[in-house]
Symmetry: C2
Subunit: 257 residues, 2 copies
C-alpha cells in the first residue's frame, strides 16, 4: 500500500527505497532508531542492493514456512527492536493479528525511555498489547541487560520471530529450544545461521510477505502446515541467498550462461 506519510506514488521505481529512508529518518526523530540502528540499516541496504532489491524464491519459501510455524505455534511471539518498529510498525501489527502472536519489544541497547517510545509507536500503529516492559524473564547465556525478556512473552513462547537480531541474542534464543525465525539480509551472519527459518529478505518486504502467507494458510489443516514446515530446508535457503549475492544471478540457476 502507498504510505500516507510520504508524497511518493507507489509506482515510483525507488518507492520502497525512499519509503525505507523516510521511515528510518522518522524513527531517529521519534527517538526509536539508534546510531547502531542507522549503521545496521546501511549494512542491510548494501546486501539488498547485491540481492537486486527483490524477494528471492528461496526467501518467499522461507516466509511461507515462517507463516506455517507461527500458525502451528501454541504461543508465537514477534520480537521488535528499534529498526523494526521504525520500518514496519503497522506491518508487525498486521502479522500479529494474522497469526494470533504477541508483540514484545526487545532492544540490544535497552533504555526505559526507548522501550516506552517503541511501545507507544506500536500502539499508534494499532497494537493493543505490547510486551517487553515487565522484563521478569531472562535468556540464559547473555549478560544482564541483553538477557531481559517477559516471562509470559518470549520467555514462554514456542515460536519466536526475531527480525534484525544481534548474533549473540539469536544464538542464545536458538539454544533455548524455541523455533527461531530470523529476518536478516546477510546470509552469512550468525543470526541467519542460528535460525530454524532464516529469511534473507528486506524486513519491509518480508513481514508483509509472511502475513500474506499466513492469511493464505488461515484455513489449512495441521497436516498441510506441518508438511510446509518439514519441506523447508534452512541450509538450502542460506546457500541460495549467498549464491544470489555473490554471483548476482538467479538463485535457481535459471541463467544457462
Amino acid at each position: 500500500m502507498t504510505d500516507p506519510d510520504i508524497e511518493i506514488p507507489e509506482s515510483h521505481p525507488r518507492y520502497e527505497s525512499l519509503l525505507t529512508r523516510h521511515r528510518i529518518e522518522a524513527g531517529v526523530d521519534a527517538g526509536i532508531t539508534s546510531r547502531q540502528g542507522l549503521i545496521a540499516q546501511g549494512r542491510g541496504e548494501a546486501f539488498d542492493y547485491l540481492l537486486g532489491e527483490r524477494t528471492l524464491p528461496a526467501a518467499d519459501a522461507a516466509e511461507r514456512a515462517a507463516a506455517a510455524h507461527l500458525l502451528l505455534a501454541d504461543h508465537p511471539v514477534l520480537s521488535v527492536n528499534g529498526n523494526v518498529a521504525a520500518l514496519v510498525p503497522g506491518e508487525v501489527v498486521d502479522l500479529a493479528a494474522a497469526t494470533s502472536a504477541d508483540i514484545e519489544v526487545n532492544l540490544f541497547n535497552r533504555t526505559d525511555e526507548r522501550m516506552e517510545r517503541i511501545a507507544d509507536h506500536l500502539r499508534e500503529h494499532g497494537a493493543s498489547e505490547v510486551k517487553g516492559l515487565t522484563a521478569d524473564g531472562r535468556i540464559p547465556g547473555l549478560d544482564h541487560e541483553r538477557a531481559k525478556v517477559d516471562a509470559d512473552g518470549i520467555g514462554d513462547a514456542d515460536v519466536v520471530l526475531v527480525p534484525l537480531e544481534d548474533g549473540d541474542r539469536a544464538e542464545a534464543l536458538g539454544d533455548l529450544g524455541k523455533v527461531e525465525i530470523v529476518i536478516d539480509l546477510n546470509p552469512m551472519s550468525r543470526s541467519a545461521r542460528a535460525a530454524d527459518v532464516p529469511i534473507v529478505d528486506n524486513v519491509i518486504r518480508a513481514v508483509p510477505g509472511i502475513t500474506e502467507h499466513a492469511r493464505d494458510l488461515a484455513d489449512a489443516d495441521r497436516e498441510t502446515l506441518e508438511s510446509i514446515v518439514a519441506e523447508f530446508d534452512a541450509g538450502e535457503a542460506l546457500t541460495a541467498a549467498e549464491r544470489a549475492i555473490r554471483e548476482g544471478g538467479d538463485e535457481d540457476g535459471g541463467d544457462a550462461t
Copy 2:
C-alpha cells in the same frame, strides 16, 4: 599505528573494525558525522565484509597510481566530508603533507556549523590550512548547495581525491576534466565508475596506503610517475574488486578451483 584514544591493542583481531566504530561514534558526538553518514558507514561495512576486510592487490595498485597522480599534479586537493573527517583526520593531514596537497571540506549536506566543526577537527589533527569555507566557486551541473567549492581549492585543482563521494558530485567533478581519484567500497557505484582512479578499499586503509606510496615515490622522476599512471587501468581495478565481492575469492584468480 595504535590510536591513543581507544584502549584496544593494535594486535586485536577486530582492531580496525573497533577503531572505525569508535571514530564514527566520536564523529557523531562531535557533530561532524550525519545520519546519512552513519547509514553510509553501514553500507561500507557490508562491502568491506564481502571483500574480506583487506586491501586487494588491485586496490594497492590504485593507491600507487593515486600517489603518482597527486605527486605529478600542479595543484592537488583532498576533499573531506563528515565521515572522512571522523574516520581519518590525521591520515588526511599526513597525505596532504606527503603530496603538498590542499585540504578542502566539502559536504553533501552543507551547513555552516558542520563545515566549521569539521575544519576545527582537521586543525586539531594538525591541518594548517583548511579550505571550503569561502565557497566562491561552483561545480557546473549541480544544484546550488551541492555545487559550492573554493575557487582557489577544488575550483583550481587539476587532481582531486574525493573519498566517499556522492555519485552526482563524483560525476559532475569528472565532467570538469580534472583527474578524479575516488575511494569507495562499492565498485558498482556511480562514484567509482566516474573516477579516473577508483580505489575500492576501506578509507581507513586506503588513505594511509596512498601516503605510503607517496613517500616511497617522493624522489621518483616524472617519467617513473607517468609510467605508473599510464599502466593503471580503472576498468580492470573495478572488475577485480567486483569479482572479489561476488566470488569471495582471490581477485587475481590465484585459486585454481
